[in-house]
Symmetry: D2
Subunit: 293 residues, 4 copies
């Protein structure tokens, strides 16, 4: 259902690969809410995914751009303003990639040229987008920028590797630039820290399914889906959240504020028990719930 929350608003959405992508879902919801926007992704990503399908659905144009390349970004933003007929109101940054993770290089043996590349793609790209937009005076006053991040910026998750550092600096960039763009143009910049989500990117991480299960049992509301994340981003692009800036906003069903839940510790407890044959459930003891409350 549409609320016309983004009626008349113009945007650029980075990072839609396929219908599992958070950016894809944001595009669909932004379209429903009345926004016009340009979709963009790296040339390679565009070949792998199905972004044109999304573009058609949303009546949006697609412009290929390498978000680490300043010329590409300048072209993207200039053309977007032309296509959309004016300045931009919102930007979604949903970009992350680590060559170290891809090549299975452990964190303690990082290749530093890859490490720089991880940051360039996953974090500096946000700075470059903002810097280019500012140079072109491309964002309207009270515009809104959202970048997607993960709680690994605050707490260490095995296997998340140098992406943790990339997310930490991404959040710092949001604050640093949020201050400058805020005082100048009232533009707000926030990060949304999303539950582990089964996107194409997420599913590449080994052990991801168990981590997702754990996060789900820890979170009182369960993990947040890509669709729900899109809903949340819509509120952040709308005029109803104008004084929220420089924040890292957890959209995770409560995970970030949990130390231990009943569901997670009960599952954990099973790991120590004499197990029944697969397929049978360990009998659940109602009293366990009571005692834990």
């Amino acid at each position: 259902m549409s609320h016309n929350l983004l009626k008349g608003k113009k945007g650029i959405i980075f990072g839609a690969l396929n219908d599992k992508s958070i950016a894809w879902n944001v595009a669909e919801r932004a379209h429903e809410e009345g926004a016009a926007f340009v979709l963009t992704n790296a040339p390679i990503a565009m070949r792998m995914g199905s972004i044109n399908e999304l573009a058609e659905k949303c009546n949006a144009r697609v412009i290929a751009a390498d978000a680490t390349n300043l010329e590409d970004l300048e072209k993207l933003i200039s053309e977007s303003m032309e296509i959309l007929g004016g300045k931009i109101d919102f930007i979604l940054h949903s970009i992350g990639m680590s060559p170290n993770v891809r090549k299975g290089i452990p964190y303690d043996e990082l290749k530093y040229e890859y490490y720089h590349r991880t940051l360039d793609v996953s974090a500096f790209s946000l700075h470059k987008v903002l810097s280019t937009a500012r140079k072109l005076d491309a964002i309207n006053d009270w515009g809104s920028v959202v970048a997607l991040t993960y709680v690994a910026a605050q707490r260490t998750f095995v296997g998340y590797n140098d992406m943790a550092d990339a997310k930490a600096i991404l959040e710092s960039i949001s604050r640093s630039f949020g201050y400058i763009y805020g005082r100048e143009k009232k533009i707000r910049i926030n990060t949304v820290s999303q539950s582990p989500t089964l996107t194409t990117a997420g599913s590449g991480i080994s052990g991801f399914d168990k981590l997702e299960d754990f996060a789900n049992r820890m979170s009182p509301l369960g993990n947040a889906t890509a669709e729900e994340c899109a809903d949340y981003c819509v509120t952040l692009f709308s005029d109803l959240t104008r004084k929220v800036t420089m924040q890292n906003l957890f959209h995770d069903g409560g995970f970030s504020s949990m130390g231990m839940s009943l569901r997670a510790i009960q599952q954990y407890e099973k790991s120590f028990r004499d197990c029944p044959p697969i397929g049978e459930d360990i009998p659940f003891d109602e009293k366990d719930v009571e005692k834990f409350k």
Copy 2:
């Protein structure tokens, strides 16, 4: 402009005193967005304020209740369900009062019976509302509860006294109960940490105007107003933020993420200068902006 974000939703709003109150503004906006609700405040507060005017405007019923009194709360919630024709979808908790502050008792000499009273009114009241609602099964699945708080829960502000401790425990209660109500009924509970706001409550704090000026200069977007806070609360009551829970959400123009802004340090610097006569401004040096960027 209405987006029908709360169409069909039912709520209870605590703490509207007069048109400066955040709760007052939330009521007006919730009404615009299609919600039906009951207004409530303590009997004394109702005599001092003009809540009936608001009720008329919003086509809402008013029920007096002492939020520290379980019987009052049970009556309030039961009657609200009757009046509204079903379970509740959202609750705003905007309640705070410290007898120590009122009587000018400094923090290091707190009277402990007043201290207990501060917590009872400003924090336990939230627990009591939630506990009573839960007992009566009064909140729909995926309902949303918001309590207003202040950054003094994280950092010490001179003069804020035992209200800092009250806000710290209020935020803890939101997490503790948010876990339980989340796992049981998918109900989310968050706190909104608002800029210093010139409500009737806020204006009672001595030195408040200078603090407000400082916060305003520190915040890249300036302080958030009560109206803007109401907009934000509307998004949190809507279905678009269903997976946000147990969070403390800063709605403060960026203040909480600032260490020092150009505007604040420039003002601060003036305190050391040889000052021109009152009324004349210290000449502003453009280069100062450049060097600081």
Copy 3:
């Protein structure tokens, strides 16, 4: 081995029950490091424990005091100064008790008189100690106060009940009073957030052993023991940490900064497997370590 870190320093240590108590261990270490101090606990606790044994070992006097009773505290602090021959340099606050937890009342059904009592014993007691000490001018400049807390103040742990709220307000009191006592007398006040520790108090919480196991596997250095906590407290009482104040200091082997460790997720993974008979270990696959790094 002694480093004479507390040579000539005088203190008061609250909360030593038996040799599992953190306060007990702090007393032993403070004695080794050259401090003289008074031990205190509630009259009931003194009957249950073996504090006199500790007193003898440490050449310390014991004074019974209910830490919620201002007269008791005034007597305790006055007498301590007499016994020790001057003002106090350090205080350890290791006090916590929840009647709601003791009586198995779940968080959503808290008895509010018990809730007030939980706060009175576990948090206001710190305020009362500080307020009384200040009134009597009982602490030397650059004195140091440490109160023990738990990460449940930041994140919700099932079963920790209203003690989470008590620890949240305890940490707030440390900041609020730390500001005042700091500006006046350079006295610093910090909280130490300790791993789950098998004290007599800790062992009363149901499900504690599994939580402890989980915390231990999550923490790269394993859980911190009471002995190690005592070492840490010694550094905080020493003159080497004079500018650390109003902080919550995690002493937990890294737990608070972990999202997921290899050891914890491997154990968690076992809960989903077809298990071998009890006593046999699931074969450990070296490659699992590699892939996760």
Copy 4:
């Protein structure tokens, strides 16, 4: 006065330039406490400073090394082990430099090759030191690594530029590597977030004096000095803090936990007043203190 806290311990200290440097002070204190260590700095820094004077005082060897160069680091660490006769117990990382800051390039116009350089010098250098040490198995079990940082990693300070991002990722690296080195060798890695300090590096930042004044008035204990920081680092290198890891530890007189102090707001208030001639103080009103408490 020495406590022999580091007796028999071996270390490497990065970043001592002159007697204002924190690293210089750490070296002096570590020497007093019985440690043997190697001093190192970049070749250029060594020419500018007076490190040899320090080396003589501390009976330490100096090895020049570019901390961004893996070969230099391997040579440094290997030679250090030879010189010191065994594995290392502690490392101090006090390295930071931004070409963008040096050249006065504002944050919104960062040169990206400089930005990479800022991170390489100020943050990746820590990763490289740790990675090299781990490859050479150069650190004893329960060793301790400390890196110096600043609160700009959490909150934006005008003028701190890309150093804020560098400190944010430095703290993330400490956590990420702290997890790995902790589980393998019980080695702990922490950052110390120090008050603004008038080192040669710090004094290069424009407007630094006013910021330092503000921080000093905000902090109940005043800003922490380099000497005091050295004391604190000694405790972190000692065996008394073995279970503290992956933490960011504020050593700042309380600044990080302050929202507004009486001293700072009183100074701020002066900026709005009709000022007396320079040199005369604004009369101080005792009652102001009372009302604020």
